[in-house]
């Protein structure tokens, strides 16, 4: 029975099937919100209100011709999308969605899993860099270099901002942090600055406007993905979508009090909170213009990182008082 449960956990909910379906739904939600913010309609004709459009796009990409450039490193070029998808699916395992007992620790909930999750979330960035580098085309290489340059910008602020709730809760375990804030919802207001830093950093991690510098289409064509076609590109799209779900799940766990209750209520809370985070991400996407790479790094080191340190100071002060 335990084995069956683990399999259900891995493959159906909250594993593979749920993640793929939900990430496609999130993409639809993001596209629709983005369109409505711009006074457009967004996807409309595939399925009800265009709900199936992201799935249709994915299927279309899967059926397209798959080209490997002659000069590219064939093995790396093919393996990287698969690795990326595997890593991001693994990272989703650590989200405390359902059935975490605080006393009995399972394979996916242990003290320090927040660090593992952040580590796993940063790996796709390396995958993107390698993918750009191994494509060997000029635009891909530039895109790859930009990915890694941006990575040095946003990773520290993200870590700093995620750290402060952990300090406040006095735990390195996601489930415990979530439970702490469920018990003391008033303390969530301490982390408001951290929440916005984390949003900005997640936006940069997902490479969306204003941080879509690595694949700025008017500058460097497709950036990292210039040479990718067909199935491999579909994998990368899926990676970005799932990364959005996992990233917003992390923010929802740490800053919004997690997902309390049993299987159904935690499911509903997960949907509500992640969609809220994704809505905010869409607003950021619509409200700003793309930055230049030097402006982005300056922004994250001059503004985000000091704010993150300020957030930690505030947290420490609050912690001393209690």
């Amino acid at each position: 029975m335990a084995i069956l449960k683990t399999f259900f956990y891995l493959l159906v909910y909250p594993g593979l099937v749920f993640l793929i379906v939900y990430s496609l739904f999130c993409e639809w939600f993001d596209r629709k919100t983005y369109a409505r913010l711009q006074n457009r309609r967004g996807p409309l004709h595939t399925g009800k209100a265009g709900l199936l459009q992201p799935a249709a796009d994915l299927i279309k990409l899967f059926s397209k011709e798959d080209i490997v450039p002659e000069k590219a490193d064939r093995i790396m070029f093919t393996a990287l999308p698969v690795f990326g998808l595997a890593i991001i699916l693994t990272s989703a395992m650590y989200l405390p969605i359902w059935n975490y007992s605080m006393t009995k620790t399972g394979f996916n909930s242990f003290p320090g899993d927040i660090i593992v999750l952040i580590y796993l979330l940063s790996l796709p960035t390396i995958i993107l860099f390698l993918a750009g580098w191994h494509s060997t085309s000029f635009f891909s290489t530039i895109g790859g270099v930009r990915v890694i340059t941006m990575f040095f910008g946003y990773e520290i602020p993200l870590l700093l901002s995620v750290l402060s709730p952990a300090i406040l809760a006095g735990s390195w375990r996601l489930a415990e942090i979530a439970q702490f804030f469920q018990a003391n919802p008033g303390l969530l207001s301490v982390n408001v600055i951290g929440f916005f830093i984390a949003l900005a950093a997640l936006q940069a991690k997902l490479e969306r406007t204003p941080f879509d510098i690595p694949h700025a289409e008017t500058e460097i064509v497709g950036g990292t993905f210039t040479e990718y076609t067909g199935r491999k590109l579909a994998f990368f799209r899926l990676i970005t979508d799932i990364e959005m779900v996992v990233g917003s799940g992390l923010i929802a766990t740490v800053f919004l009090g997690g997902f309390p209750g049993g299987i159904f209520s935690s499911f509903i809370w997960f949907i509500i909170k992640t969609l809220f985070v994704i809505f905010l991400l869409s607003v950021i996407k619509a409200a700003f213009s793309r930055l230049r790479i030097d402006q982005m790094v300056r922004f994250s080191w001059y503004i985000l990182a000091p704010l993150g340190i300020l957030q930690i100071f505030i947290t420490l002060l609050v912690k001393l008082k209690f």
Partner: protein, 401 residues
């Protein structure tokens, strides 16, 4: 390490084919070279085979955005050759359509600038409001893009009272929206950070490189054909030449937004002081021999048509100097020492209309660099031989093969 990369002929930043050969040092542009000739349409030859009436519609198709500019420029020139004066009402309607066109072109440019800077929402909003102008134009001329309102000796359609009130009402909305975009485009921090300080073109350089239009006016030089050499009835209409002194892409944005307000004022003035009378004068089909140069301030800059007639129904020569062509030398100067990220913005800031500026193609042998004149059959034979001899392009081959 410096590398040379061709941006174009096919690139998402370029809406039409042109090749910008860039030499980069890291992310910084060290040298730029513009190669034209990907979009040659043989228009000037086409003009010679068509009558003056037909040529109105051919000149209209030089450009999709400044279609009215080209026809007005051409028609003004032909009327100069014929030595006739067009009715006052006709010249006012021409000016009205011309200013409406400037409004739609500048709103379009604002959207394009937003798109190139990755500001998609700005792009969507400006283009949505541009539809108001497009609707006005469609209603008053019968088409959204090619208005075809000019004819030799006047205009083809009149503006009636309902149209007049409708345009005046729409202008109110447009003014309000443009005021919002003025605030947005010049104060939104992430957008301004992208625009300011890039593509610097100092005053002296702008003059010596003969740039025209908003590119020139953004370098604080108040040159405008409408003021300097008034055509139609621009000497009767009060307006100011808008300039900016920042000499960068932000300055070009500011100039265009200022010009939008000037255009609204001109349209309002025209509609309130529209003289009564005929809209068309009778003209003969044959144009007496002679030659003339006609100038017009298109939304993108000064547009020049040179017309030579030989006393028949058809022109002997019609030379078009589109404003984009005059701005190319300045673009090369502006691109130097910029970032890769700024290429689309700097290039878009001159509002390039590439196929308007394509006047000739020279076929050169890439190995010897010798230019040859080839007939179409010879060219076909050459391409057949080329692909017979070069069966497969080997790995690691660098262009030219």
């Amino acid at each position: 390490m410096s590398i040379t990369i061709p941006i174009g002929p096919q690139h998402p930043a370029l809406k039409e084919p042109i090749s910008l050969k860039m030499t980069f040092d890291g992310e910084i542009i060290k040298d730029a070279d513009i190669r034209l000739g990907y979009n040659h349409r043989g228009l000037e030859k086409l003009f010679e085979g068509k009558s003056y009436v037909q040529n109105i519609y051919v000149t209209e198709r030089i450009c999709g955005i400044c279609s009215h500019s080209h026809t007005t420029c051409f028609v003004n020139g032909v009327e100069k050759l014929l030595g006739i004066e067009i009715p006052k009402r006709a010249s006012y309607i021409r000016m009205l359509i011309g200013e409406l066109e400037r409004v739609h072109s500048h709103l379009l440019w604002l959207g394009v600038a937003g798109h190139e800077a990755g500001f998609e929402s700005f792009f969507m909003y400006t283009w949505r409001d541009r539809e108001i102008v497009m609707d006005i134009l469609e209603e008053s001329s019968g088409n959204r893009v090619h208005y075809a309102i000019n004819t030799i000796g006047g205009v083809r359609r009149d503006i009636d009272e309902t149209q007049r009130t409708r345009i005046l009402n729409s202008l109110k909305i447009l003014k309000e929206r443009t005021d919002y975009y003025k605030n947005l485009g010049t104060t939104e921090p992430s957008f301004v950070a992208r625009l300011s300080g890039i593509g610097i073109l100092p005053r002296e350089q702008a003059l010596s490189l003969c740039s025209v239009g908003p590119t020139l006016r953004a370098s604080n030089i108040d040159m405008d054909v409408r003021k300097d050499d008034p055509y139609l009835a621009y000497d009767e209409v009060p307006f100011e030449v808008s300039t900016a002194d920042t000499c960068d892409v932000l300055g070009r944005t500011v100039v265009r937004i200022k010009e939008l307000f000037q255009s609204y004022n001109i349209i309002e003035y025209i509609l309130r002081n529209l003289p009564a009378g005929d809209i068309k004068a009778k003209v003969p089909r044959k144009v007496p021999a002679g030659e003339t140069v006609s100038r017009y301030e298109a939304p993108r800059g000064e547009n020049i048509h040179y017309i030579k007639s030989n006393g028949t129904e058809k022109p002997e020569r019609l030379k078009v100097r589109a404003p984009t062509l005059a701005n190319y030398p300045a673009t090369v100067a502006m691109l130097k020492n910029g970032f890769i990220a700024d290429i689309p913005l700097i290039f878009a800031a001159i509002d390039p209309c590439i196929c308007c500026a394509e006047r000739m193609v020279e076929v050169k042998d890439t190995k010897t660099g010798r230019a040859e004149i080839k007939t179409f059959d010879e060219l076909k034979k050459y391409s057949r031989d080329f692909y017979k001899n070069h069966k497969k392009i080997k790995k690691d081959t660098v262009w030219p093969f």
